[in-house]
């Protein structure tokens, strides 16, 4: 089912109990020219597989450990407790890291986003303002200076599906995020304006933040699922879209691979 290229950067798609988007994430990387593989957490913990042997790291979506307590929390603790050195080395080597949905929640709870400080959580992704899980397509605008968002279409559409995606931080943290240009994606309305309005901003995220990069620009996390829009048929109105228009999700994986 998974086709793997013979060359291209090697991508670790890290899987914990309850991770459930790993297969389509591997597919998306391979479609973009990578060599991605699913790596169970216990392989890294036991040393059977070394993170250093990979060129890029992806934390895919899902419900790691059931999202018990809060989303991504238990997996974040596991990473910080057992893989802090390997992660720090990986980031120090300027290798790219992509966190999608649950992966974004994990990166925020490890502290790697927004400021790249492993073990020091600075922001949160809280329960959606409407109090429940929601699955829908959203419009997004890319911004910021991270190389991971260069080459993305300025406006894009992606699906999302989450219960805890409301980005929140205190005022000074938000100001620092904006001042450093760390906002990578915002929810926008049909006119392209950043919005607090439901359902265009589906979870009530502060500053309409849908995705963030760290100051190095090499760690990117986002609530929407780019791996769910790498084929034109995945768009709910694909019959109305131009045949030659590239699916908006593919560029994310290409950008990660270009930095790997």
């Amino acid at each position: 089912m998974i086709t793997s290229a013979l060359s291209g950067p090697r991508v670790c798609v890290l899987k914990a109990d309850g991770t459930n988007c790993e297969i389509e994430t591997v597919h998306a990387f391979n479609l973009a020219g990578g060599r991605a593989e699913v790596v169970p957490m216990n392989f890294l913990r036991s040393g059977a597989v070394r993170l250093a042997d990979f060129d890029a790291l992806a934390l895919p979506g899902g419900f790691s450990y059931g999202d018990d307590v809060v989303s991504g929390k238990v997996m974040a603790i596991e990473l910080v407790s057992f893989l802090a050195d390997a992660l720090a080395d990986f980031v120090a080597a300027r290798k790219p890291v992509l966190g999608i949905c649950n992966g974004f929640q994990v990166l925020v709870r490890t502290g790697l986003l927004p400021f790249g400080r492993l073990g020091a959580m600075q922001a949160t992704l809280a329960l959606n303002a409407r109090g429940r899980f929601e699955c829908r397509w959203v419009r997004l605008a890319a911004s910021g200076s991270s190389p991971l968002v260069q080459g993305l279409p300025e406006r894009l559409e992606l699906p999302l599906a989450h219960g805890e995606g409301r980005f929140f931080a205190d005022a000074s943290t938000l100001a620092a995020i904006e001042a450093q240009g760390l906002v990578a994606l915002r929810y926008v309305d049909a006119e392209g304006h950043s919005t607090a309005h439901y359902p265009e901003n589906p979870n009530g995220a502060a500053h309409a933040i849908a995705g963030l990069a760290d100051p190095s620009g090499r760690i990117l996390g986002l609530m929407p699922h780019p791996e769910r829009f790498v084929s034109r048929f995945q768009h709910p109105a694909w019959r109305l879209r131009p045949l030659d228009k590239e699916p908006d999700g593919l560029a994310f994986f290409r950008q990660v691979l270009s930095l790997a």
Binding site: G18, F43, Y65, T124, A161, R228, A237
Partner: protein, 982 residues
């Protein structure tokens, strides 16, 4: 010592509290409650000191960015009322395992943990208000309790229970009946057969043996009714199951496996196969809707996982019938839960299990009728993908080990199989609480991951899931042809204190049973360790011909496989068809434009037609990246899709199309025509998006009252409908399920028969998803064609029986719209060909709400209107009458039964609201010619699409009848479910 940490939001915002406040206001009318705040409560045991608890709070339990917390003291102190709601002891909280894992990762010696929730109410509470809120919305006494005293310990203790010997051999009939009523639910003939068996052995049975027999012989597991010889209206008929299987054998192209495994399997492409299974979970959902729906999803996913040597679950469907959400409280029968509570909790259960498993839920329906007030119908389906080479049901070899993989065994779900086979009473909710548990989706997900890794490594000899009947059913069935010896004390338990029979019968979720060669056991264990999955060797398969169960060396049960699986008494069941009381009343036709608009809005706002978007959006329908048609289409993403389309092989154009048909009332009106309607509706839904009617498999689900003579005769006719459908389509049923317990007995002994429901699901393959269409209009000025024959026969009430239109007028009608089985396959083929060939660019089948609802839904997602000229349709001949044939192209053919060409004024409400199945509203491509596409098949050019967002309806003579805006229609259509889900 237990330490208690409470966590709440540090701001006023509390989405859970706000949802509860709105729910209190809507369902209880209590407007005095201004604000509700919630807090999580964690109880911890085993930590050394307060410092460790503080560490756990800071690092795991609370996030000080937006939360505040307390240790061992109240957190919310300013509320007008405060209550804590927790699971009852013994109901396993899935969160506890994560708390233990995280604490261990942090190096903290946490030994046991639990999580619960506090609710703080602010505002005016009259005496009794709090009790009403708790009873109606917050505490289901089956699984939950209000915490009034903090627990002393969270560690559950206990000694294994004993095995009892039941003095059956000496019992008289009355004693045996009393024994059976205590939870075995076997009838006297069956009890006597068991007595005879043990008398011959010269000993009394153990409790375990009796329980195993009751489970194996339960209606739920053995399908006694479907296997019985029948005498219907004095005429002998073969068993229902045999008739279905024989039809399948006649049409078995593409079938890989039918009726022999946990699901039915069809060939797909490139060496892959697709599996489908649809289950009912009515009884558990009736008493604990959240846990019941979760375990329903978990069970049907395991059916897919347990197919062949293991299949990946790639899609889920759900179909529900409830009483209307606004049913007055005094009409809810004793011991039953309010329908809006059931609806919300069932949706939450399906959501939380499917989303966490990463299985997209992308097809389903919700129906309402007051007769479901005693018991809802909850149907969950699942579909899977597996290599065709491992898609056959496999058998263990002598010497293979029995491995159980996944969750631990607790007291959950004991008697689930026998309970599901019994009718409900006012006592059910309190007596059978053991039958429900809370599912743990992540446990099932890691079990799936580990099991598929074992499959791909070639380690599995045979496989099944642990569902109803637990180990007893799973191991008993796998070992049926050989024999099996189980060492029961090895089974990992959630807590001590279970008697051997409880361990063997427990229906604890998330367990799979494997037969594995002894030389492969170590490799399986290594894979399981990678995925944090527990696996245990429970014994072995060996050619003894016996089921032998031992516990710590003592034999606690030994039964001959031949008796266990073949010893239940064969029976002949008698059915007597009860003709329906004819109700020929029809509403008066709307008199003027205002009345027509009101009628249209009433139909769109009927809960059966209404948009289910607030439900669908809670289900992840894009996970796994396979969706090529989700639940809503069009640029505005509002047109409901008739079917789901998936691309199971990522990167390949191959499509899996999934659809279903269900109507909550038509089988009650007429089980044959109602049954055919469900099948034709399923096929029409599949074909409307571009599915190929020649490359599908069908799945039946009969949800029927306990079959007395009348209900059995109805069931017989519904099965006839399935067989006739199968023969007409030349396509097979490959899986099915009957649930024959839709009966409620009031305390005074009166019986409520819940409406019989036939749900037909269908799934099939197409080579290229590019050649499919959506339901939404694509452009203004396009030609609209109605394709297919509608039953508008005046002699049978214009086919309006059971229609939404009649229901809005307080009427039921007489006969469901009939289906012409000679015509249906030709219409399906023609529409399929027109979609593949590009002649049709948008298509929607007619179902609830008829032509009006179809046109409105096609417009709402596109922002385009339509103009409809209400012509007549070709009539269906009367039942048993001949089909006259002849063209009906663009003509208005009204007439008495079967007479083609005779003009007769037909009721325009019938043409607008008739719900005949197998009929399509299609938007044609530029230059496409309806006559060329559909030839001599019934079709009618009925109008065109409009740039203006409105429906203009003309009376068939060219005069305007009424115009209504899409916004108005949409508002009416969205209101009912938005009200329930806020």
């Amino acid at each position: 010592m237990i330490q208690t940490i409470r966590v709440t939001s540090s701001s006023d915002g509390d989405p859970l509290g706000e949802d509860l406040r709105a729910e209190i206001r809507r369902s209880l009318g209590l407007a005095g409650i201004a604000h509700v705040r919630t807090a999580k409560v964690y109880r911890l045991e085993g930590l050394a000191d307060a410092a460790q608890a503080v560490q756990l709070a800071r690092q795991l339990l609370a996030e000080e960015i937006d939360q505040r917390w307390s240790l061992d003291e109240p957190l919310i102190t300013d509320a007008d009322a405060l209550v804590e709601v927790a699971y009852k002891p013994g109901v396993m909280n899935p969160e506890a395992a994560s708390l233990l894992k995280a604490a261990q990762d942090l190096g903290l010696p946490l030994a046991a943990a639990d999580a619960s929730r506090e609710y703080a109410f602010y505002g005016i509470l009259a005496p009794g208000d709090l009790e009403r809120i708790l009873a109606r919305l917050l505490v289901n006494p089956t699984i939950e309790r209000v915490v009034t005293e903090a627990p002393i310990s969270l560690v559950m203790g206990g000694e294994p229970g004993p095995t009892a010997v039941i003095p059956l051999c000496a019992m008289d009939d009355a004693a045996m009946q009393a024994l059976s009523a205590g939870g075995l639910y076997l009838d006297l003939v069956e009890m006597r057969a068991i007595q005879d068996y043990f008398v011959e052995l010269g000993r009394d049975p153990t409790d375990l043996e009796l329980e195993v027999l009751a489970q194996t012989w339960s209606e739920h597991c053995v399908h006694k009714t479907f296997k019985a010889d029948l005498l219907i209206d004095g005429r002998p008929k073969p068993p229902l199951m045999r008739r279905l299987k024989e039809a399948t054998a006649r049409h078995d192209a593409l079938v890989v496996s039918a009726f022999v495994d946990n699901s039915g399997v069809l060939a797909f492409y490139d060496g892959w196969a697709v599996a489908g299974k649809v289950e009912t979970h009515n009884s558990p959902s009736a008493i604990e809707p959240y846990g019941g729906a979760m375990t329903g999803s978990g069970g049907v996913f395991r059916d897919i996982l347990g197919t062949g040597l293991g299949a990946r679950v790639i899609a889920s469907t759900d179909m529900f019938c409830f009483a209307p959400p606004d049913l007055p409280a005094e009409q809810v029968p004793p011991g039953c839960l309010a329908p809006d509570y059931l609806l919300r909790r069932v949706v939450a259960g399906v959501r939380d299990y499917g989303n966490r498993m990463g299985v997209p839920t992308n097809n389903g329906s919700v129906h309402f009728h007051p007769d479901f007030r005693a018991k809802p119908t909850v149907i969950v389906g699942a579909y899977g993908l597996l290599p065709e080479a491992v898609a056959q049901k496999a058998r263990p070899r002598s010497g293979d080990r029995i491995l159980v993989m996944g969750g631990r065994t607790g007291r959950d779900g004991i008697h689930g199989a026998t309970f599901s086979s019994a009718e409900m009473t006012a006592q059910t909710l309190t007596v059978n609480s053991q039958a429900v548990q809370i599912g743990n989706a992540v446990e099932e997900k890691r079990t799936l991951d580990a099991l598929l890794a074992c499959r791909d490594a070639g380690l599995i000899q045979a496989l099944t899931d642990c569902g109803a009947g637990g180990f007893s059913s799973a191991i008993g069935e796998l070992g049926e042809e050989l024999g099996v010896t189980v060492e029961l004390e090895r089974a990992p338990l959630k807590y001590p204190g279970l008697a051997p029979w409880e361990v063997f019968l427990s229906e604890s979720q998330e367990r799979m049973v494997l037969a594995v060669g002894p030389e492969q056991v170590a490799a399986v264990a290594r894979i399981c360790a990678v995925y944090n999955v527990e696996v245990t060797d429970l014994g072995c398969f060996e050619a003894t011909g016996r089921l032998t169960v031992r516990h710590e060396g003592a034999t606690v049960g030994e039964l001959q496989m031949a008796f266990l699986h073949g010893g239940y008494p064969r029976r002949t069941l008698t059915g007597v068809y009860q003709p329906r009381v004819a109700d020929d009343r029809l509403p008066t036709e709307p008199a003027d434009e205002a009345a027509w608009r009101a009628a249209a809005l009433a139909v769109m706002g009927h809960p059966n037609v209404a948009s289910k978007e607030p439900i669908c959006r809670q289900y992840d329908h894009t996970v796994q990246g396979m969706a090529a048609m989700g639940p809503f289409g069009g640029p505005l993403a509002r047109t409901p899709g008739d079917a789901a389309i998936l691309t199971p092989l990522l990167g390949k154009p191959y499509g899996l199309v999934i659809a279903h048909g269900l109507n909550p009332v038509l089988c009650a009106l007429d089980p044959y025509w109602g049954g055919l309607w469900a099948g034709a509706e399923a096929m029409a839904n599949l074909v409307a998006v571009g599915g190929n009617p020649r490359e599908v498999g069908l799945i039946d689900n009969f949800i029927w009252p306990v079959p007395d003579a009348a209900s059995l005769a109805d069931l017989d006719r519904a099965v006839d409908a399935c067989v006739d459908l199968s023969d007409a389509l030349e396509r097979p049923f490959i899986s099915g399920k009957d649930s024959l317990s839709s009966t409620y007995r009031f305390p005074d002994g009166t019986v409520l028969k819940i409406p019989p429901v036939l749900c037909v699901s269908v799934f099939g393959r197409i080579p290229d998803v590019a050649r499919t269409v959506g339901g939404e209009f694509t452009r203004a000025g396009a030609t609209l064609v109605l394709v297919g024959a509608r039953d508008l026969d005046p002699a049978s009430g214009y086919g309006l029986g059971g229609s939404t239109w009649l229901d809005t007028q307080g009427l039921a009608g007489r006969l469901p719209p009939r289906v012409d089985l000679a015509l249906l396959p030709r219409v399906l083929d023609a529409v399929h060909a027109a979609i593949v060939g590009g002649g049709i660019v948008a298509c929607h089948d007619l179902s609830e709400g008829g032509l009006l609802a179809a046109a409105a839904e096609m417009g709402i997602g596109a922002g385009l209107g339509a103009e409809l000229e209400l012509g007549g349709d070709r009539l269906l001949p009367p039942a048993g009458g001949g089909w006259e044939g002849g063209p009906a192209v663009g003509a208005e053919l009204y007439g008495e039964a079967g007479a083609v060409g005779a003009r007769r004024a037909i009721r325009r409400d019938a043409t607008l609201f008739n719900e005949s199945a197998g009929v399509f509203l299609a938007e044609l491509a530029d230059g496409a010619d309806a006559a060329a596409l559909f030839g001599d098949l019934p079709h009618l050019v009925i109008g065109r699409t409009l740039a203006e967002p409105e429906l203009r309806v003309r009376d068939g003579e060219g005069a305007p009848l009424f115009t209504v805006g899409l916004d108005e229609l949409r508002e009416a259509w969205e209101r009912p479910m938005r009200a329930v889900f806020h």
